[in-house]
């Protein structure tokens, strides 16, 4: 009786091991596929950028010096730094486009970060549970709005409201584009911050109440600092999304490559330029390589910001643990 029992057991054990190996293999392949894809995309983008550094023919029209240093004649910076790649004398300064990207990103973050964090504080600390059940899915639904719809709404509706209210000279400007972008960023900031705030242990709150702090003091001075790594992580992710966002800015930003620090001027972003001009460009031309250079630039910016963000978050988490122990 006994040996048969053992054989069944052994067979089961072997099957279990085989299944385990199969599933582990499947999942690790899936993981590696994602990594390999990102790597290949970067490799492709970078490969198309290389002529900027090596090809003499292309360098006559576009090179790193022309992108960042060269100036035209003119009284204002708008005239001096110009993106005009298809003109008879191509001008390929990237400053108007980089400035446009930064303006939209900053306005978007200035709107989305306070709103997102405040909403997260409200729903995790102040809202009655039943209200919370409603707020969370509704804000997360905002993330599901396609950016082309958001862009169209900003183009047709928000732009008119803002112009009527503030009398802007340009209907489509950095404020309008940044605001529309902000709407797309709020759910990112909110979701991650909210998760972080909810994860703060009850003990923190109870200790604070025991010391006589009000609800607001507890939320603002105890819970929010304790969740700082999560809140900061949400800002980093929102920044990454803002830099790469295309459709909203293509539609609501006015798409004029102007070198200007004014928030009331139209703007054009790196991603929108790639989207608008890639369709027409002659493959292998200087203009084509320039667009890929912008793509690489975007890649590098998000990569660096994400890495720095991760480092800061690690630091904050360590300090938090240090403070707790």
């Amino acid at each position: 009786m006994k040996p048969r029992h053992e054989a069944v057991f052994r067979r089961r054990e072997r099957l279990r091991k085989a299944q385990n190996a199969l599933m582990t293999g499947t999942f690790s392949i899936a993981g590696w596929v994602a990594i390999v894809f990102i790597f290949l995309i970067f490799l492709f983008t970078f490969k198309e950028t290389i002529p900027i550094f090596t090809d003499k023919e292309i360098q006559r029209e576009a090179n790193v010096h022309k992108f960042f240093v060269e100036q035209q004649e003119g009284p204002t910076i708008t005239d001096r730094f110009v993106w005009q790649p298809t003109s008879d004398v191509p001008k390929v300064s990237l400053w108007p486009i980089i400035l446009g990207t930064l303006k939209a990103t900053i306005v978007g973050l200035l709107f989305a970060c306070p709103v997102g964090v405040a909403a997260a504080l409200f729903s995790s600390e102040f809202a009655p549970p039943r209200l919370r059940e409603v707020i969370k899915p509704v804000i997360e639904l905002l993330a599901g709005i396609p950016s082309v719809v958001m862009g169209f709404f900003a183009l047709i509706v928000i732009a008119t409201w803002l112009q009527d209210a503030f009398g802007f000279t340009y209907r489509l400007n950095a404020i309008n584009a940044g605001l529309a972008l902000g709407f797309a960023l709020v759910p990112i900031v909110y979701t991650i911050s909210e998760d972080g705030l909810s994860a703060v242990p009850r003990a923190h709150r109870e200790a604070s109440y025991a010391l006589g702090a009000t609800r607001f003091q507890t939320a603002w001075k105890v819970v929010l600092p304790a969740a700082a790594p999560a809140v900061f992580a949400s800002f980093v992710l929102a920044f990454g999304r803002a830099i790469g966002e295309t459709m909203i800015l293509l539609m609501a930003g006015g798409n004029a490559a102007i070198t200007s620090f004014s928030l009331f001027d139209p703007l054009r972003t790196l991603s929108a330029t790639i989207a608008a001009e890639m369709g027409e460009v002659v493959v292998g031309s200087a203009h084509y390589s320039s667009l890929f250079f912008m793509g690489t630039l975007l890649f590098v910016i998000t990569f660096v910001s994400n890495t720095l963000g991760q480092l800061v978050i690690k630091r904050m988490q360590l300090r938090m643990q240090g403070a707790a122990s």
Partner: protein, 294 residues
């Protein structure tokens, strides 16, 4: 363990299904290649200005010739010409003539000369908001406005307000035409807001009381196309007669391009587009027929 077994079997099943799917697809594609020779779609790509026109022509053509399929795509004249050179379309539609080097490239890659085939005339309108008091501008004034030398409407007989510029992105034939014929190959000012398509320009000017933009006049709606004054001439408003007889300064031809070695189904469509029947359709859509040209 039951769960694991189920996952494994699902995986296996899905792999099997994918494998089957692949084989099926393969079969249909080979079948298609054999039977499709008669009704392989004619593909056309290019000028956004011409999309409405070519689309209507294609519909009518397909109605008249059952079995023929014509696919029309926009993207801008430059996009269409690039596609013709790359060999991904049968015909390119363009609102500007192909440049010499483009023709050469296309001829080398397609293995035969490229045929230039005008199918209609179009007036390029300069649009202002309906509320604008400005009735006409000279070509030189328009040039200065789009180059940023004239920045206030009061310099050209309008109210004291900054001029807001709208234009097309640089893949557009309309952009090229305007740059060549109005700006005399100069640059647009960076403050020109580039929008995707003439319809977007019209929409923006319609909402902006200080706006000015340009585009094919077939699209004009809720904006006013101003009269244009060439040097030493009277201001001329765009209309069928002024565009057709060439007195309106900004009239242009709209072209189809195809390699002379193109199969008969392609050339047949191009030839049909200039028959009186098709030209009547051209007028209906808001463009101007060829045969009344100078």
């Amino acid at each position: 363990m039951k769960l694991a077994a189920r996952v494994v079997s699902t995986l296996l099943l899905s792999i099997a299904l994918v494998a089957c799917g692949g084989r099926e697809q393969h079969q249909t594609s080979t079948d298609g290649a054999q039977s499709r020779s008669s009704n392989k779609p004619i593909t056309i790509k290019g000028s956004d200005t011409m999309v409405i026109l070519t689309q209507r022509l294609a519909e009518e053509y397909m109605k008249a010739n059952p079995g023929e399929v014509v696919q029309v795509n926009g993207g801008g004249s430059g996009t269409g010409i690039a596609a013709l050179i790359n060999g991904t379309v049968d015909l390119a539609m363009s609102s500007r003539p192909m440049k010499g080097d483009e023709k050469q490239k296309a001829a080398t890659s397609r293995g035969s000369e490229i045929v230039e085939h005008p199918i209609a005339l179009d007036g390029l309108g300069v649009f202002v908001n309906n509320t604008s008091p400005v009735q006409h501008l000279t070509l030189a004034q328009i040039k200065d406005i789009f180059q940023g030398k004239t920045t206030n409407w009061n310099q050209v007989g309008g109210p004291d307000a900054q001029i807001i510029l709208y234009g097309r992105e640089n893949s557009s034939g309309t952009y090229d035409y305007f740059r060549e014929h109005v700006l005399e190959k100069g640059d647009f000012h960076p403050r020109v807001q580039t929008l995707q398509g003439t319809a977007a320009v019209i929409n923006a000017v319609g909402r902006d009381k200080n706006g000015i933009g340009y585009g094919g006049i077939a699209y004009a709606k809720d904006v006013r196309a101003i009269a244009i004054q060439a040097e030493g001439a009277q201001p001329i408003a765009p209309s069928e007669t002024t565009v057709a007889n060439g007195t309106y300064p900004l009239s242009r031809k709209l072209f189809l391009y195809y390699p002379s070695s193109a199969p008969e189904r392609v050339t047949k469509f191009a030839q049909w587009a200039i028959t009186p029947e098709a030209q009547a359709l051209v007028t209906k859509v808001g463009y101007f027929p060829l045969n009344t040209a100078q």
